[in-house]
């Protein structure tokens, strides 16, 4: 795929679809003249060979939520499943960055919501789905029910040369990682070289995006200090129900859109956060999925990781084939 910066691709998408529904960004997260060494050292560290692959990030389905401003229930989540299954390049895995379900005091009801989440997500045609909890999954019971359904809330794994780390910044009820998990993270990362490609996925932003909207992690700085030694770190998160890009030093942070309702751009908004109004004529507006492609090649002065956000309305206008056509040829 020809590479564009985000601004230029947004322009292309806008002229194609009439709305800014599809954009692409190509961070330099994995670029650099030492890329060959990077892949070799990672392959040695993880025991896996580096190879091209793609994956999808989903976030904030809030299964069980049916209130205003969004009467869609699980329809956006189900549409996202269809969209993933229609992608021309089958993703290797799906990362779900929290708030799989909406919380409730009643444990049986919450368990039913988690089961419903699993019923929908198992229709995704991918070999592997990984999750981290959001505060609506794990904030009331310390993550006990979440772990019954989805296993540990922080862990790591290697896939085709990329090291993935799931961080839990919700189960302690407050927006924090905690000393134990931080110590685990440092130990987990210790075996990797400086140039290893690392993808962190978590729910809340690790930096102060908007603290008075609880868009932060209180000990996020300590996490980033632990990551400072590494040159190729990408953080994927959810929680804020909108796409966002941010850099802290060498670390690239990307927020995903939600699958239930959207929040506005916090810049310039005073006072409490309020969801964007529901647009009944475009019910999937501002909701979407993210695809991430890793080309696995040594490309000095270029990029090996590409991030694309696809609004669910894309299919509404052109059909999934139209989206795929755009994905294959952004110059359409």
């Amino acid at each position: 795929m020809k590479q564009h910066d985000r601004r230029s691709f947004l322009k292309i998408a806008g002229s194609s679809l009439g709305v800014g529904v599809l954009y692409s960004a190509y961070p330099a997260a994995l670029a650099g003249g030492q890329a060959g060494n990077m892949f070799a050292s990672l392959g040695h560290a993880s025991g896996e060979q580096v190879a091209p692959f793609s994956f999808v990030q989903l976030s904030d389905a809030h299964v069980g939520f049916n209130g205003p401003p969004d009467p869609l229930g699980t329809r956006a989540f189900e549409r996202a499943v269809d969209m993933i299954n229609g992608l021309s390049q089958r993703p290797d895995l799906v990362l779900f960055t929290g708030d799989l379900t909406h919380d409730t005091e009643d444990k049986d009801t919450h368990a039913a919501r988690m089961k419903q989440f699993q019923e929908i997500s198992k229709k995704i045609n991918v070999p592997l789905i990984k999750h981290v909890p959001g505060e609506h999954d794990a904030g009331l019971d310390g993550g006990a029910l979440y772990r019954e359904f989805f296993g540990e809330s922080h862990y790591s794994f290697d896939h085709r040369g990329v090291h993935f780390v799931a961080l839990d910044n919700v189960s302690r009820a407050k927006p924090e990682i905690g000393a134990d998990q931080l110590a685990w993270l440092k130990k987990d990362l210790a075996r990797f070289s400086k140039s290893a490609p690392i993808v962190i996925f978590t729910h809340r932003p690790l930096f102060d995006l908007r603290p008075d909207w609880e868009w932060f992690t209180s000990d996020g700085d300590e996490v980033m200090n632990a990551l400072t030694a590494y040159d190729n770190v990408t953080v994927l998160y959810g929680h804020i129900h909108r796409d966002d890009e941010h850099e802290t030093g060498k670390i690239h942070h990307y927020a995903a859109r939600s699958l239930i309702f959207a929040f506005p751009d916090p810049v310039g908004v005073q006072g409490p956060r309020k969801p964007l109004p529901f647009d009944k004529d475009h019910p999937f507006k501002n909701l979407g999925i993210r695809t991430v492609s890793f080309n696995g090649r040594s490309q000095p002065a270029s990029s090996s990781l590409s991030v694309e956000d696809i609004e669910l309305t894309a299919r509404e206008f052109r059909g999934i084939n139209g989206v795929q056509q755009l994905l294959r040829n952004p110059n359409v």
């Binding site: 909406h102 919380d103 409730t104 005091e105 505060e135 609506h136 904030g139 009331l140 919700v170 009820a173 407050k174 927006p175 102060d208 603290p211 008075d212 909207w213 609880e214 209180s218 006072g271 409490p272 956060r273």
Partner: protein, 123 residues
């Protein structure tokens, strides 16, 4: 000689602690003549939902929860407290910055937790 060194160390320690408290503008100790403002937390609101403080004037915020554990978080005033159910938490604050600030519950307390906030005005 040893006594003098010990006294100097104690003095420097006290100076450091005082300095840290002055920097943060908040502390948990309080005197009897300091005004007290009572704030009650209850899913999913604070009562009162707005208070006004004066820059440089020390007050005690007396926080208590009527139901579950809540948080009381306001970065510009360095407030980050837990309010356990059935307990009272006193926080002494001397605001040094004027403005209108939104204070939030940052201890997840239920479905509408994200809308639990109050306003602190510093004049």
């Amino acid at each position: 000689m040893f006594q003098e060194k010990l006294t100097k160390t104690a003095f420097l320690t006290a100076l450091c602690i005082t300095g840290l408290l002055a920097l943060s503008g908040t502390k948990h100790a309080h005197a009897d003549d300091v005004p007290v403002i009572e704030i009650t937390a209850k899913r999913f609101s604070f009562s009162p939902d707005k208070i006004t403080l004066k820059k440089g004037q020390t007050v005690i915020l007396r926080l208590h929860s009527e139901d579950v554990t809540h948080g009381f978080f306001l970065r510009p005033l360095h407030l980050d407290e837990e309010i356990p159910a059935g307990h009272t938490t006193d926080v002494t604050v001397t605001p040094q910055t004027t403005g209108t600030f939104m204070t939030i519950c940052d201890h997840f307390c239920g479905a509408n937790h994200g809308n639990m906030n109050m306003t602190i005005v510093v004049e």
